[in-house]
């Protein structure tokens, strides 16, 4: 009886088996300090402080690189339903593995922000709140395809393209020069994980602005 209970207990945990694979600086889970190897439960909130970085790995080996000054909640990682990451503030890189199950191929992972919801089918992409977090959010795709939905519009964003969303207005997907310099590395052994591109650069469209 005890063995059956333990088996069920571990089975329940294995339904959401995320783990922190890399920590630099100060990383909190539910406001408590976390370290490399810390396990994450469903709906845990990960907070990465200034000059810090964290990489979490989901049970299917998908990874999320969480940048400094970022808060993120990952929930509902059952294999039968899409995992949802709610980006509360800041920015993060996502590397989502393709679903082995064909039924889940359509939408395996979702990222939610205040302005837009992103449906992901096995891809690598970056999401960041802008200078006015209540209004702006940016997203760009490095690999795969992302379906972005705001309250008024939706768009399919391909690799090499990005969008900006301000209030409910979504820009059409197009290459964004500033995203070429993003650091997509998720290899915690590489020693080169930090992203040095400021979101300020997203606002500099070299052709759009005149100075005289």
């Amino acid at each position: 009886m005890n063995r059956l209970f333990l088996f069920a207990y571990f089975l329940a945990f294995s339904l959401f088996a995320s783990e922190i694979k890399f920590v630099k600086g100060q990383v909190l889970v539910n406001n408590k300090p976390a370290t490399k190897g810390s396990k994450l439960n469903d709906k845990d909130v990960v907070k990465v402080e200034s000059k810090s970085l964290a990489i979490i790995e989901l049970d299917d080996k998908s990874k999320i690189k969480i940048n400094e000054n970022t808060e993120l909640k990952v929930e509902n990682a059952k294999k039968e339903t899409p995992t949802t990451a709610s980006l509360i503030s800041g920015s993060a890189f996502f590397k989502i593995r393709k679903a082995l199950n064909e039924k889940l191929q359509k939408e395996k992972f979702k990222v939610k922000t205040r302005q837009v919801s992103l449906g992901v089918r096995g891809t690598e992409f970056f999401v960041s709140y802008g200078k006015n977090p209540k209004e702006d959010v940016w997203m760009c795709v490095n690999e795969g395809l992302v379906e972005a939905k705001s309250r008024k519009t939706k768009a399919l964003v391909k690799a090499g393209e990005g969008i900006g969303v301000k209030k409910d207005k979504m820009s059409p997907p197009k290459p964004l020069a500033w995203t070429k310099k993003l650091n997509w590395s998720m290899d915690e052994n590489s020693g080169n994980l930090e992203n040095n591109v400021s979101i300020e650069e997203a606002y500099t469209d070299l052709l759009g602005r005149d100075y005289d």
Binding site: L207, G208, R209
Partner: protein
């Protein structure tokens, strides 16, 4: 002897007639120049206001204020419409004789102009842009029109940019020198914030002066000379809106 004396008298008399009749180059030092602009950006339109002023004590000082807008037709093309009020702008026909030959004082006389421009801008790479602009200016006060082609190149760093521009001023009327002015601008702008940028500027202006109508009518001859003026100063730009 008498014949030689007559020739000498004629020579010195003609020198006396023309001495002081032809304008001379007046600019030996670098002049100060300040420019301030603001852009209010709303959707695809930039509403624009600008003031410029050069060192006012100099005889060829100028001041101008410009209002208008520039509209994006596409990511690369823009069209602009402006009104400008200027003081101190000098023209060929401003060399006149009253008690003596002198330049008409344009500092107290405002001049009104209408301008329209068409700009093409594109990326050279993710750090550099080039721009071609064609401006038509109609100065209603003196009744002159100008075509002003301009090319420019800019290099952007993370929080600043450099720009080099060359602009020609080609009067619509017939002249010996088709190009009346050449302007070369070099600026450095520091992007203090998303709204504010400022920095130094260096400009060179070459003016091809030609005889005024008054001079031609009175003395039945012509003159031409080139004036080279350097400016050093600062520019301030403020962007707001979208």
């Amino acid at each position: 002897m008498t014949k030689k004396l007559h020739l000498l008298v004629i020579y010195f008399l003609s020198e006396a007639v023309f001495a002081g009749n032809i304008p001379t180059r007046q600019h030996e030092k670098v002049q100060a120049l300040v420019e301030a602009r603001t852009f209010y950006i709303r959707n695809k339109t930039q509403y624009f206001a600008e003031v410029k002023f050069s060192e006012w004590e100099e005889s060829q000082a100028f001041q101008s204020a410009r209002l208008g807008l520039r509209r994006s037709l596409s990511r690369n093309f823009k069209i602009g419409l402006f009104y400008q009020r200027s003081y101190g702008l000098r023209h060929d026909n401003d060399w006149i004789k009253e008690s003596a030959w002198h330049w008409l004082d344009r500092k107290t006389q405002g001049q009104d102009s209408f301008l329209t421009d068409f700009t093409y801008k594109n990326l050279i790479n993710d750090r550099m842009t080039y721009e071609v602009r064609l401006t038509y200016e109609k100065n209603f006060t003196v009744g002159r029109g100008f075509i002003k082609p301009r090319i420019g190149i800019s290099y952007f760093l993370t929080k600043s940019h450099f720009t080099l521009m060359e602009e020609l001023s080609i009067p619509m009327e017939t002249r010996s020198s088709a190009i009346q002015e050449y302007w070369t601008y070099f600026t450095y702008s520091y992007h203090y914030s998303n709204n504010v940028s400022f920095g130094p500027l260096l400009a060179n202006r070459i003016v091809n002066w030609e005889s005024s109508e008054d001079f031609k009518n009175r003395l039945n001859t012509t003159y031409q000379f080139k004036e080279n003026i350097w400016y050093a100063g600062a520019q301030l730009v403020y962007h707001f809106g979208d």
